[in-house]
Symmetry: C2
Subunit: 514 residues, 2 copies
């Protein structure tokens, strides 16, 4: 059994943060732009985001939600109306104050003092307030409800410390915004969106999540309830991967979103909002990446199968290419996981063996290499990215498959890979949630141990609020811990709150987090 020489320089267990950056660079997914806090998303990273968008958008449309587009600029007055909301966002927004540049006389440019805006505009950090204005115009009667809208957009939150995909000043997301006649209807929508996120994360991204309610201190500014899906990264930290908010009538009061009920009375609407962002791409890296790079689940892989012809500048090259093209066409004609199979015949210059490692780092689910001898024998060399190494000899785990058998079985193989990645992540997640911790001392001991990946602990608590909760948050902060969520449908509590000593009412997850 030989030692494996991995395709990255950094191993996860040596330096997880450096490994994360190396995957992004080695898989050519994104890079720093030179503009403060903003990244450039490169084709492979953007291709994965496009796949997520397509699958999420199908789910959004299937729920009867209609896409719209709202202005990127929000007048200050909109923020001034919702006190909690502005408190939460005003500290980190990009503010437009001028609409023209002029020469500064020294070869440079400055904002034109003559072109100062009367009222500055904010680049949207989220769109509740501007969409609230539209809802107030669009809704008159109970017949106009529910109003179900969504937009795919860029938003800007001025972040001091940024990390690619996870926290950038500008990011891409979808934001759903809905208005309803009753609290009950709005809560139902809040949960529908949450469940949609869970299903997309688990079934499309193969990323297991725990759906639950965020504690009061982690609520979206202006929300009555905030629910999230939380995913466990391979370093044991939590990633909040999507949120769904029940906003009560708070934004309705601020924007005047009212309707006439069946009896002719005037009522305020109950609204919701929910979003996922390019952060999901970071979650995919930290869920599925290994010491050889990324592994992309087939459902969201821009190319599910990459075919590499082994060309040698010899006369038989043409025949090898033709054989590869036949295989490509036969595969592309089929469906896998409910969609046409996405197959790339990579004809770019370079040796197949070198290009193989590029695709390993990018995490294409299946890599197929074809040389003249394979062609003669009607064979292919097939490498599954999720079973990259042969444990017996430490070499790439090629299966020299019969061409037609591979073509006939490729859809099933992609399905298996999707399942295998999910099962692996779920097992790891489940193995790293510790239950039965009954005191803060035990929590401290759990996370203080020289254990790299302490995962999450689930503890019973009395659901404190206000200042009592603030103290809990402070205590946890001292251990670099945060409250994640109270799992939906979790087991009932039967003991004592580890924070307050009062009778526990539910269980909450505690973890380090991104």
């Amino acid at each position: 059994m030989s030692a494996i020489r991995h395709a990255l320089n950094t191993k996860r267990e040596d330096d997880f943060a450096a490994w994360y950056q190396e995957v992004i660079s080695a898989a050519d997914m994104a890079e720093e732009s030179g503009v403060r806090g903003c990244m450039v998303i490169k084709p492979w990273g953007y291709g994965i985001w496009e796949r997520i968008q397509r699958l999420m958008d199908d789910r959004i449309k299937a729920a009867g939600v209609q896409n719209c587009y709202f202005p990127i600029f929000i007048p200050l007055a909109n923020f001034e109306r919702e006190a909690e909301h502005v408190e939460g966002f005003a500290k980190e927004m990009a503010v437009v104050t001028h609409h023209r540049l002029i020469a500064d006389g020294k070869g440079g440019l400055i904002p034109d003092p003559e072109a100062k805006l009367e009222e500055p505009l904010v680049v949207r950090p989220t769109s509740e307030t501007i969409i609230g204005d539209a809802m107030a115009r669009w809704i008159q009667s109970w017949r106009d409800l529910p109003l179900l809208t969504n937009q795919w957009a860029n938003v800007v939150r001025w972040e001091m410390r940024t990390r690619m995909f996870l926290r950038t000043s500008e990011f891409l997301w979808q934001e759903g915004h809905t208005a309803h006649a009753t609290r009950e209807d709005a809560l139902e929508e809040t949960h529908r969106a949450l469940e949609m996120y869970r299903a997309c994360a688990e079934d499309d991204l193969a990323m297991p999540v725990i759906a639950g309610e965020k504690p009061e201190n982690e609520r979206f500014p202006g929300a009555d309830e905030t629910w999230s899906i939380e995913a466990m990264m391979q370093d044991g930290k939590a990633l909040q991967a999507g949120t769904s908010h029940y906003l009560g009538t708070n934004f309705a009061h601020a924007a005047g979103i009212k309707y006439q009920d069946k009896e002719g009375g005037e009522q305020f609407c109950h609204t919701t909002s929910w979003g996922v962002s390019t952060r999901l791409v970071g979650g995919i890296i930290m869920t599925h990446g290994d010491d050889d790079g990324l592994r992309v689940p087939p459902k969201i892989a821009p190319h599910q199968i990459v075919i590499l012809p082994m060309l040698r500048d010899k006369p038989e090259d043409g025949a090898v290419l033709a054989y590869c093209e036949e295989v490509r066409a036969a595969l592309a004609d089929q469906s896998a996981l409910g969609e046409p199979m996405r197959v790339l015949l990579d004809k770019t210059p370079g040796k197949a063996a070198g290009k193989r490692w590029d695709w390993v780092r990018k995490g294409a689910p299946i890599i197929v290499e074809v040389g003249p001898r394979d062609m003669e024998n009607g064979k292919l060399a097939v490498l599954r990215r999720d079973r990259l190494w042969n444990p017996d000899n430490g070499k790439p785990n090629f299966d020299f498959a019969d061409r037609d058998a591979f073509i006939g079985g490729a859809a099933d193989m992609l399905g298996e890979i999707q399942q295998a990645l999910f099962a692996e992540a779920r097992e790891r997640r489940d193995a790293n949630i510790t239950r039965g911790v009954t005191s803060m001392d035990e929590v401290a001991a759990h996370f203080a141990e020289d254990k790299r990946y302490p995962g999450w602990v689930e503890v019973e608590w009395s659901k404190p609020s206000g200042e009592t909760l603030d103290k809990v948050v402070e205590q946890l902060k001292a251990l670099k811990l945060t409250l994640r969520n109270v799992p939906r449908g979790g087991e009932a509590a039967s003991g004592t709150c580890i924070f307050t000593g009062e009778p526990a009412v539910e269980r909450v997850l505690v973890a380090r987090a991104y």
Copy 2:
């Protein structure tokens, strides 16, 4: 023969501008947002844009161009580098100067003086300069060329006079940016993109266009050549519907986009950029709309067929709905124009006859109404939006079709409608281009006539430049006319330039324009 009572208040021939606004409102496509120069794109308008995006994106990907995403903010330094470019854009950009708001002590918010940016950032009006930075990082050798990128994004140009879809401060677009080893390669890409736009406009949007080169005065700031597709609106004005620029090595010099050639020498890249925007939606309205609202070509209609059940709060309603659902499913199972058919069974409250006119105004290609008697007889009432009125009696032109015959023929009918809309627009366009005009006096007479829709004139010219061209532009401006483009592959010139009296070298289109 009865008079037709049209579904809009304004007729095109009475007030084209007011008619345009009324279509947008009556078809529920978009509205003013209250934020200066920005619009809200509503579901029907955005759905048409999503269709355009999908079809254009397929064309872009088929050409091997890869989607990326670049920052929305551009540092001033990027603009300062390219003199012509900044001259063209600096006058109309949104400038971010602060990254935080604070309370003003009077219940309002102001930009925090402590959070002033050291260098202001510009909200991108277009991305040549920021993508140029990335190209300079990504390209080292001739092996890296061509580099073919595209992004779908929002951009902001501070416009004084705005008109929905046609000219808004924020708009949505795609911008392709490519780098090449040689002038020849870059010009080939410039023309490939132009041809892609022509094909998409004509084959997908059913909007006939003339592809050609813009004269020098209409070039993109910093371009060596600008090509456009120009469409004729129903008022005879021209709409520039897409542009493709050959940028020479101008942006390559500004950003340092260089490559090592096969001989080891250092060369500057030749770059291109090309874009189409939400302006296309305005073009669709002014190409296909009529006095009853919009008519959406089937390829870009969010719903190609809308089924309206006639419900009467009676026991047979359930059976009518079930019959409609069967028809919907049978249609949705088929393909039309190369894609799965998009069929809506509209179950929203309201009478079918009222909803019919909503869908007429929105321009759904085929509207199907089903009442209890139709169901009993296995029939449907089918209304083609492009043949809305029965000329004999001035009533809606319903065809009471056999259910199975309609289902079997629906795909062909959608294909016919697509063709019919294109043919109608092309005939009108061709009938309204006047050739053989040989003097400025004739041009003035042509456009001075009390003729509402003088269309375009094609004149021979000597292709003047510099100050001579400036004078031509001035002369035309006095008649509210502009130079549109020199049609690609147009007829050769044989006479005298109508502006300079010199021998003509080519033909140029002159028109009023949006």
